[in-house]
């Protein structure tokens, strides 16, 4: 009799715990992928949890490629994605919504001896192309004639990622065509370029600028893009002083696109989990007010409405 009671108790406890865990699972949203979206999604999850304390988040970085691979493998609910969705990926049944816009900016160390000159002249798209795709440039004065000979080292991302793909797209190429020392992850790339005064790289805006202060991160500087190819950075091309001014340039379309690009959530088919759908809906409506605060550029209302329709 006693033994029977014990068995009943164990079975009951098992049923109860399985209920609890499946309910918990229903309320947990796991997200992985692009470093570009990572800070914003963290911000969103914090704000969302204030309104919906029952929802748990599980957010990891790893690059856009990881986000897409994980989403298609079904190991996560939403992938963060930061480049255009390829046709092959669409064929595999990817479902996506756009969330916001940010950009990739060319970065150098603020210890670069030619910093002042570079800020006056800027670099054109073709010059960036020779540096990143050509792979033959080893000295800064091969690019800008007026400056003293100084070694140039190109750094790029080693992991499959949106930043590199977007930057390559701007230069009319693919990530694999960028010649340079491959560093893993966005934070690592910032670190490498800060440490090497001869280095040049590219970063997501959120990793070139500090969101809290609105200034460039310690040791980082941005190479201005000479958009109209006149070899001088005009006042309207000179918007790299603060995060806010860069975001304004992106929003007004002064900063070219690419390297400005839309950021997405991706999933394998339309998500079925109600908590996930609710969260996406929230990010496209109430969540949009945190976008500027977190250092991104909002997408226009027309597009938001389109994406909201995809949710219904």
């Amino acid at each position: 009799m006693k033994r029977n009671n014990l068995i009943y108790f164990v079975v009951f406890a098992l049923i109860l715990s399985s209920c609890a865990s499946s309910k918990k699972k229903e309320q947990t949203i796991s997200i992985s992928g692009a470093f570009a979206l990572y800070p914003l999604v963290i911000k969103w999850s914090e704000e969302y949890q204030k309104e919906h304390p029952e929802v748990q988040f599980n957010i990891t970085g790893g690059g856009a490629g990881k986000g897409m691979a994980d989403a298609l493998a079904g190991t996560i609910d939403l992938g963060m994605f930061s480049r255009e969705i390829a046709q092959e990926e669409k064929n595999k049944g990817v479902w996506w919504v756009g969330l916001t816009i940010d950009a990739v900016v060319p970065t150098i160390s603020n210890q670069n001896p030619n910093l002042e000159q570079l800020k006056i002249h800027g670099l054109t798209r073709d010059e960036f192309k020779t540096i990143f795709i050509g792979g033959t440039i080893t000295d800064w004065n091969q690019i800008v004639k007026e400056i003293q000979p100084n070694k140039l080292t190109v750094y790029t991302r080693s992991d499959a990622c949106g930043a590199a793909e977007t930057w390559a797209k701007y230069l009319g190429a693919k990530q694999e065509n960028i010649k340079g020392i491959g560093i893993f992850g966005d934070p690592g790339l910032t670190e490498a370029v800060v440490k090497d005064p001869s280095g040049i790289a590219f970063n997501n805006t959120a990793f070139a600028f500090d969101i809290k202060t609105g200034q460039k991160r310690a040791g980082v500087d941005v190479v201005p893009i000479d958009i109209n190819n006149n070899d001088v950075i005009d006042t309207e091309e000179d918007f790299y002083q603060s995060f806010e001014s860069v975001l304004k340039a992106i929003a007004e379309g002064v900063y070219p696109s690419p390297p400005a690009r839309e950021l997405y959530f991706v999933a394998k088919g339309k998500p079925t989990k109600q908590a996930t759908l609710d969260f996406i809906k929230w990010t496209l409506t109430d969540g949009q007010k945190y976008i500027t605060e977190a250092g991104y550029v909002p997408i226009n209302q027309e597009k938001i409405n389109q994406y909201l329709e995809k949710l219904n």
Partner: protein
């Protein structure tokens, strides 16, 4: 009662054989799985041209694995050159010369080193080894380097392999009977001579297998190397240039697998290559041991 015991014996015997067979089959299952996944790639290019070509352009369907194989071999050989003498000499010192107290201190130190996750070695590599390479090591050899190089990768790998090799070497030297050494000493050999001619000779197969396992481990190590090696697809002789080992290729690009055709087959082939090379390394060292035992 007897019947019961026979039954139990049968069941436990069967169970043990099954587990053993599983372990034996595991490499084959992994190998076959990778081979099947890599098959589409072989329809485009032959295995030899895949392994020997050095053009890597997945978007145009060109897969040449030689830069990665060469990068892996280079980093591994370099790490072996760094680690092997250190391990051998410190193992000799610890087992033959030092006090037992020092060994008692060293064992936990080695265990801690062996237990550290490789990402810690990677971060430490970026913070210490990379600047060391660019500021001290490269200028010493009259070279310029950003620090993210084969040299840095080899150094980090060497440090990671040291605890494994050292641990095994200590075990190997401890198994040499004291009597042998005493006999040699009583014949008038000096302490160093007895170590050289008796201890090392007696443990020769053990030393080789310790080195072999160290090399196999170094060859397959991924994350720590990937963080410091520079990941540039090219073939270079200069150790201060960056390279791109096979495991890093897989780890870096598995996310891109789905957007480029044939890429998943190519990465599976890279994994297969890795498996085959590590098996070959083990096989060669086994052969070595077998030959030295025969003599």
């Amino acid at each position: 009662m007897l019947y019961r015991r026979v039954l139990f014996d049968k069941i436990s015997g069967f169970w043990m054989v099954t587990t053993l067979v599983t372990i034996l089959l595991l490499p084959m299952i992994i190998g076959t799985g990778l081979y099947i996944k890599a098959l589409p790639l072989f329809e485009h290019q032959s295995v030899t041209s895949l392994a020997s070509s050095s053009i890597w352009a997945p978007n145009s369907g060109k897969f040449g694995f030689w830069p990665f194989i060469a990068g892996s071999l280079y980093v591994t050989v370099l790490s072996f050159l760094f680690a092997a003498p250190i391990c051998l000499l410190s193992a000799i010192y610890l087992t033959q010369f030092s006090s037992t107290k020092l060994i008692q201190v060293m064992h936990p130190v080695i265990d801690v080193l062996a237990g550290l996750p490789s990402v810690i070695y990677g971060v430490w590599g970026i913070l210490i080894v990379v600047p060391f390479t660019s500021k001290i090591a490269a200028p010493f050899f009259n070279a310029t380097s950003s620090g993210y190089s084969i040299f840095a990768g080899g150094l980090v790998l060497a440090i990671m392999c040291i605890p494994y090799m050292l641990n095994m070497l200590i075990e190997v030297f401890n198994t040499v009977p004291v009597g042998l050494k005493e006999a040699s000493l009583s014949l008038g050999a000096t302490f160093w001579e007895s170590i050289k001619h008796v201890v090392i000779r007696k443990s020769y197969p053990g030393i080789i297998s310790a080195f072999g396992l160290g090399i196999a481990k170094a060859f397959g190590e991924t994350i720590a190397v990937m963080m410091v090696v520079g990941n540039q697809v090219r073939i270079t002789r200069n150790p201060f240039d960056s390279g791109y080992p096979l495991p890093a290729l897989i780890a870096n690009n598995y996310g891109e697998m789905l957007s480029i055709p044939m890429y998943d087959s190519a990465l599976m082939f890279a994994a297969l290559l890795l498996l085959v090379i590590i098996m070959a390394i083990n096989f060669i060292f086994r052969l070595f041991i077998y030959k030295t035992r025969e003599q």
